[in-house]
């Protein structure tokens, strides 16, 4: 698996888009820090960007990489390699290279700014951890979609729909449900609703840590009331881990049954 990981990783590192992605985060970090001067505000703005962008890029790169490396995969399948290690290797190659772009792209400007002396270091680390989780989750989801769809365009379409649904539409439905049923106790519903969407979960997680009640909204407030800050943090990280493991397991399972 490590050999495949290495090849996939370096294959992606040679691609122009990895650098564009890295450069984007790098510029974003610099602009936010040196034009804004307020570290905690910069972290919040970054959160809003990462929470939408990391899933989007993870989805696009995941689907594109899978379809573009079909030939490579077929070549590997005839070699004495386990199917699970072929697909896990490719998946980790994509997810790790994207996460590296994120961490390096944001980490370097923040280090330059003097993050290590600042109190925001934990908030910032949590931001990078959630971003990495989101990258892993959405790359795994997109690999799942690509594995289940032979047709490139259809697979790409489904992957984009999934992103659109979880990043935008889900919140709309969620809010509508909360307004429609406002006469009923909605604590449980909103807790479950948050946990079923990794993007909402990440947002709640970061806001819990930042402890900004004004931005937390209804679900965040309930989360805090229900679990308290520490327990809430642990629970949401646990949920993110679950969100990563389940799609990866399905991916391996699906890959074992597929014909090439």
């Amino acid at each position: 698996m490590l050999k495949i990981l290495k090849y996939s990783f370096f294959d992606l590192m040679r691609s122009r888009w990895s650098y564009v992605y890295l450069l984007f985060y790098f510029l974003l970090g610099i602009v936010l820090l040196f034009l804004n001067n307020d570290l905690s505000k910069a972290v919040i703005t970054l959160m809003n960007v990462i929470i939408v962008l990391a899933p989007l890029i993870g989805t696009i790169f995941g689907v594109m990489y899978y379809y573009n490396s079909r030939e490579f995969t077929e070549l590997l399948l005839a070699q004495p390699l386990k199917r699970s290690s072929i697909f896990l290797g490719q998946y980790l190659g994509v997810a790790l290279s994207l996460s590296m772009s994120l961490i390096l792209g944001l980490g370097v400007p923040f280090l330059m700014y003097g993050l290590l002396q600042s109190s925001a270091i934990w908030n910032f680390s949590l931001l990078l951890i959630t971003g990495t989780f989101l990258t892993f989750i959405f790359t795994a989801l997109s690999f799942n979609i690509a594995l289940s769809n032979e047709n490139k365009i259809r697979g790409f379409g489904y992957a984009m729909l999934l992103w659109l649904f979880l990043a935008v539409i889900y919140d709309g439905f969620f809010l509508m449900a909360l307004i429609l049923f406002e006469d009923y106790p909605l604590d449980k519903l909103s807790l479950v609703g948050t946990m079923l969407n990794p993007i909402d979960l990440s947002r709640t997680l970061i806001l819990l840590k930042l402890d900004i009640s004004a931005l937390m909204g209804y679900t965040g407030a309930i989360f805090k009331k229900f679990f308290g800050t520490d327990y809430g943090l642990i629970l949401s990280i646990f949920m993110l881990i679950l969100w990563t493991i389940l799609p990866v397991m399905r991916m391996v399972f699906k890959a074992k049954k597929k014909d090439f």
Binding site: L77, Q79, P80, K256, D259
Partner: protein, 235 residues
């Protein structure tokens, strides 16, 4: 060496293999023939574990290949269409496959014979079909394995390379290896094969030597013998 019992495979509604039984012994050249869509490639890919059969057992080197991958150390496979990652260079690809198999291989002689040296630093996406097929053949023959599977090996080759390929096939045969070949070039099949397996609509219609096939169809010419099977069946 390879033993297939009662193999079934369908893709959606399309039944490709329906109860294939085949025994391939060690040593010699076996060719799998059949019209387009008769399941030749599916059969080969099942042996390689790339296609997962719906029913039936596949034993390679005496072991069931289900959820097993290490037996592929002993197989060299030449895929039908040389689909390589287009952004890799020829020499990177060769290095990668060696690395993945954990085997240094012997590619130098092959490269020389195919005159591939000027292409080593070129990306695979820029190569012509014939050159890709040469790279494909180098990748297949550079390892020393007892079972060699060639899916349409002659595609796109120029006469000199074809001659070399035939020569190489005979060398491998002389070493006591087993070769499993599919081809549509009848003269090639007649020349190289020791035994023919004729697939028709997902079943083995005929298995035996070229002369046995001629006797069965009462034709003098091999090409006509094959044609008579096909036309009799479709009539």
């Amino acid at each position: 060496m390879v033993s297939i019992t009662n193999l079934y495979k369908r893709f959606n509604k399309n039944t490709v293999l329906s109860g294939v039984n085949l025994e391939i012994h060690q040593g010699g050249i076996f060719t799998i023939l059949g019209p387009n869509g008769s399941g030749k490639t599916t059969l080969i890919k099942s042996i390689l574990g790339m296609v997962i059969p719906d029913k039936g057992t596949l034993m390679v080197f005496g072991k069931n290949i289900k959820s097993n991958s290490s037996y592929r150390h002993q197989i060299n496979y030449l895929p039908q269409i040389a689909n390589f990652p287009s952004n890799l260079k020829v020499k990177e690809l060769i290095k990668m496959i060696k690395n993945l198999r954990g085997d240094p291989g012997t590619d130098l002689e092959l490269m020389e014979r195919f005159e591939l040296a000027p292409f080593l630093d070129k990306k695979l996406g820029t190569l012509s079909g014939g050159t890709k097929q040469k790279v494909n053949i180098v990748l297949t023959f550079m390892f020393d394995s007892p079972l060699i599977i060639l899916d349409e090996p002659t595609t796109g080759l120029d006469p000199i390379s074809l001659l070399f390929l035939k020569e190489r096939i005979q060398i491998e045969k002389a070493k006591g290896k087993t070769l499993l070949i599919t081809s549509h070039i009848m003269s090639f099949v007649e020349e190289v094969s020791d035994e023919i397996v004729f697939l028709l609509e997902g079943n083995i219609y005929f298995k035996g030597s070229v002369s046995a096939l001629k006797a069965k169809t009462q034709e003098q010419d091999f090409e006509h013998a094959i044609a008579s099977i096909l036309s009799n069946n479709h009539a």
